[in-house]
């Protein structure tokens, strides 16, 4: 465990040094993230401005959902996208051989090798929005609520990671799968809104097929102190299950890896 933490620190300091060569990008990312957030709030206001609500959620509740989404987007561009997008290149050029030979778990290496600071504005803005909206909605920071919220946020991060990893790992068979993560990203946009705002068919799709509900709606419920036992249990189970599946899938996929040009 200690070895992994040391490695992680070395990895991230190295990639941070490299990324800070492009400091102007930080400003662009900050403006882009803030602009995107403002645009999303504007879209929400289109619904609420005419006195309607999204699936029975209050305006502040919907803002918490949006905050969780912004936070997840930030994590995606900080960790998931920069790391997992390289798997396909490793497979194509055969440099996955070197990764597999390293005396460290290959899934860990592929998932944590780089760290891109450009998603940090998203994480900060998302957290700020969650805090503000939860306070406005009158959520009490009781220890039990905080615990449930933290657990559900961790669960949602694990589910998101597993979805990305399984898609990225399929590039062992289909080298051109990379665009599939774009499809995933575009479907996850639905997570900007409470899942109960969708018609029944889509709601089922976003709960059971692509678990968008567990990514943003369930954590938001927990933050607002409305989490019920069954949902907490379901969130935890889906998270644990998807992590196990991603682990198993990687072992399975590696069995088919034959290196480049063979």
């Amino acid at each position: 465990m200690g070895r992994y933490l040391t490695t992680l620190r070395v990895f991230w300091i190295a990639s941070l040094t490299a990324e800070l060569e492009y400091q102007a990008n930080f400003l662009i990312e900050l403006v882009a993230t803030a602009g995107n957030l403002l645009g999303s709030i504007f879209v929400l206001s289109l619904f609420y401005g005419r006195g309607q609500s999204l699936g029975g959620w209050s305006w502040e509740g919907a803002l918490v959902v949006l905050g969780v989404y912004t936070l997840l987007e930030g994590v995606t561009s900080t960790l998931l996208q920069p790391n997992l997008s390289t798997i396909v290149a490793h497979v194509r050029t055969g440099s996955l051989d070197f990764v597999l030979l390293k005396p460290i778990d290959s899934q860990f290496w592929l998932s944590a090798r780089t760290f891109s600071p450009w998603g940090l504005p998203g994480i900060a803005l998302g957290a700020a929005l969650i805090g503000y909206a939860a306070w406005k909605a009158g959520a009490s920071p009781a220890p039990l609520t905080l615990l449930a919220a933290a657990l559900m946020l961790i669960a949602s991060l694990l589910i998101l990671y597993s979805l990305w990893f399984v898609l990225a790992a399929s590039s062992i068979w289909f080298v051109k799968i990379w665009n599939a993560t774009e499809v995933l990203r575009s479907v996850l946009v639905a997570g900007r809104f409470p899942v109960s705002a969708f018609p029944a068919g889509l709601r089922a799709f976003f709960t059971f097929v692509v678990p968008v509900a567990f990514l943003t709606t369930v954590p938001a419920e927990a933050i607002l102190g409305r989490a019920t036992g069954p949902w907490l249990l379901a969130g935890g189970t889906v998270a644990a299950g998807s992590l196990v599946v991603s682990r198993w899938f990687w072992r399975f996929a590696l069995g088919f890896y034959t290196s480049a040009s063979s």
Binding site: I28, G39, F42, Q52, L54, V183, F193
Partner: protein, 270 residues
């Protein structure tokens, strides 16, 4: 020594045919990727789900069928106005492919235009399939635009594509000075996403926002063509005039930056 016009036209036609057919063959190789790109344009359908659930309460001023047709048309228009020249150009520049291209006696921009058009043709069957699937799931929404609105809608989509290409290509010129210029496209994409009508028909925007939006080039890229295709009444002449005005604004800037950029260009690694 200028050749007669007819000869030049024939020459141009031959070049266009060769460019388009070779790019089409190239794009067909990547059809699986293009299908995935097409699938990643599902945003209008997600928004349709939200808006139709809200509409169940009534009071939107737009019926459910009208909403469904608008968002389906917006999906189709979006599919044929996607522009990615900035990313290709940046990659060509960084990998040093730009130098041999520049040596050819053909303005570079036509290579990218041909690539975009062939990619759209590759997309066409798949988009048709998705539209068919949509009608299968939602037969009540079926409609076929009249010949005149179909032709006009196609023309507006083509004009929207041309304008968006011109705007992005103008921004692309920054690649001559910076290695990570494509980050700028994120900034251009923001107003496009929220003002073009991808997330909601502009008719549902508050009046103040709508009026401002129509002073920008963005609503003409999705909302106007989509409404024409959906058979709604649109101030056609005014819209085309606005698109032409924006193009007239960007074209000289683009040409100027291109000349300046070429003078600055020294090939990667030099």
């Amino acid at each position: 020594m200028r050749r007669p016009l007819r000869q030049r036209l024939a020459h141009g036609r031959r070049i266009a045919a060769v460019l388009l057919s070779s790019q089409y063959a190239y794009m067909l190789e990547y059809r699986a990727e293009i299908v995935l790109w097409a699938l990643s344009g599902v945003l209008p359908f997600i928004m349709l789900g939200l808006w139709s659930a809200v509409d169940a309460g009534g009071g939107l001023g737009m019926g459910p069928l009208q909403l469904a047709r608008y968002f389906l048309a917006a999906f189709v228009v979006r599919q044929f106005t996607i522009v990615w020249v900035m990313y290709t150009f940046e990659e060509d520049n960084l990998n040093g492919r730009l130098s041999p291209y520049l040596l050819q006696p053909l303005p570079l921009v036509w290579r990218y235009v041909a690539a975009h058009l062939s990619e759209q043709v590759t997309r066409l069957p798949f988009v048709a399939l998705l539209v068919g699937l949509f009608f299968l799931l939602y037969p009540a929404a079926f409609w076929w635009p009249s010949l005149s609105s179909l032709l006009l809608g196609m023309l507006a989509t083509l004009a929207a594509f041309a304008l968006r290409f011109l705007m992005q290509f103008t921004l692309t010129m920054v690649c001559f000075w910076s290695e990570k210029a494509s980050a700028l496209e994120r900034l251009l994409y923001l107003p496009y996403l929220y003002l073009s009508g991808l997330v909601a028909p502009l008719a549902l925007y508050p009046e103040g926002v709508r009026n401002v939006a129509f002073w920008t080039p963005f609503p003409y890229m999705i909302d106007v063509p989509a409404r024409i295709l959906a058979g709604e009444t649109v101030p056609v002449g005014q819209s085309f005039a606005a698109m032409a005005a924006w193009a007239a604004l960007f074209l000289p800037i683009n040409l100027l930056l291109w000349r300046r950029g070429l003078r600055h260009y020294s090939a990667m690694g030099a």
